[in-house]
Amino acid sequence: MTESFAQNPESNHVIELHEVWKTYRMGSQDVHALAGVSLSIERGSFWAISGASGSGKSTMLNLLGCLDRPTRGRYALEGQDTASTSDDELSDLRLKHLGFVFQSFNLIPQLTVQENIELPLFYQGIDAGIAAKSAQAIAERVGLSDRLSHRPTELSGGQQQRVAIARALSNNPSVLLADEPTGNLDTATGDSIMELLTELHEQGKTIMMVTHEPEIAKYAQFQLVMRDGKIESISQNPGSATVGVGVGTLI
């Protein structure tokens, strides 16, 4: 446990958390959802975050997802500190560097599969023609090129989650954030989604995944367990020590 974090200069760290606190005020009491978390995530690593409910893992994900700012401490995404950013700047960080995959897929029902995938590109103001082409390419990558004109409701759960992953990838983000990505799926479909995520990890994506299922957590390289707003443990999964991928450091 050394104070090496701040002095890490040319880091390959996509995410750096240093003494991060997130405090909510409940009536007259301060509740610390995060109580001094420090963590560095190397580019290309695949993490599973678990913990009991109330352990702070959701808060952690919101913070990592730039949906929220830390009360205290420092969180840098791609070297950019989020503490003093404006709402617009946070939006831009999400748009540029992050992709979200949710438990309940969260596709927009009135849009077609293609339009859902194009959404981040739409907000980036990318030309419609180019956006369409890249959406088609990504759809192919997740195995959905024949469903582009369908509505989300016409698809199975597994297919919907593939669309969500395609959407999360379309802006070519630094980090893919997945919140219980298999929570609404049966085991077989869940496994296929996890295989897709593993594949993406092997292609070099950084993935942060929240899950409470040990079976799912095993797909990740590293398992991070949270408890009472703190990191309880970090462990490397056996057999996942793959090709020179970096290791997160617990300080």
Partner: protein, 422 residues
Amino acid sequence: MMTSRFIGNVRLGIKTLLLHKMRSILTMLGMVFGVGAVIAMLAVGEGASKQALDQIRRLGSQNIIINSQKPIEQAASGSMQVRMNMYGLLYDDLARIEQSYNTIDRVVPSKLIRGQGRVGSRTLELRLVGTTPNWFELVSRDLLAGRVMTDLDMENFASVVVLTEHGARKLLVGQSAVGSQVRISQNYFTVIGVIKSESTQSGSMQTPDQDIDAYIPLNVAIERFGDITVTRSSGSRSRELVELHQLIVQVDSIENVESTAAGIERMLSMFHPKGDYRMSVPLALLRQAEATQRTFNIVLGSIAGISLLIGGIGIMNIMLASVTERTREIGIRRAIGARRKQIIGQFLIETVVLSVTGGFIGIGIGLLIPWLITMFADMPTIVTLWSVLLSVVISIGVGVIFGMYPAMRAANLDPIVALRHE
């Protein structure tokens, strides 16, 4: 970049609205009827006012019309059973007014005498108008045959008469009018011309001329008929002495009408303390009519404003419901990286699409209703371009104003909370 996103937002807005067709239609109704009512009401108002204004304009907006009027309190003058009423405009008034202001172009006097025209066995009650040649310059009517009165006729005390088309038809069937002799109350007049007369059947505003007019030189009228009219009623005879029945003063320009009228009024009131004349200024009537029209427009505008307000509130209500319904969608969009103002833009565009679509349908209805009114109720209606343009602007305005609050609500949602919304 900006425009493609805008078009994308419009497409998305239309798509979202089409998802709930019935709801969108019902939401638009307020705008449809509001805008329809505005255009239709303005068209009816405009039509009615144009009709009134045209009638006033026909009297001549550069004219001041002074009529002799019997005073209400008439003290008996003369003696015994023979009473003589003396009132009205005098020959001196004509001279005085003519010399009074240099803003006056011409003063046209007229002396009206009831008489019976007779040609052979045919008779016609006529209104004999003793006037000067400039009557025909003031009241310009098409000359159908012959010529009108000239100064030479005045100088020569010529017994000549100009008939109207109507009079000529009744008295001189099948004869060439010009050159014929007409006997009017014991005097013979030679017809020198026939003019078309203004039809007075439409509307209540009277034009200075009538169908049954016959125009003779003023000095001839004075010489032949005098100033006294005798009316017999139940044994007693009442006699009236009126020198001139009417003076029409034409002023050189519209700007000078009111000041000239005021001057003449001041002067006349000195010589006519009994108030035995009445002055009317068509321009003042015109101004009055225009003022009435403005008031009318304000009333219509208020009604329209209220209906549009209700339409707008209806739209806002639905949009607020829509924001609540789509909280999750908003959360997703924010998580993906949409900025607040992009969410505002999305919802605002949706509202404007609603209000403008409603507005355009309303314009259609607003064009249809006046057309139907003209077709079936035979009332003039005028759809003005500005009312249509105004409606377009108002439609957009209503969308923006009433869409702003729901859109802000949507944009200010906390994305974390919105994502968790069921």
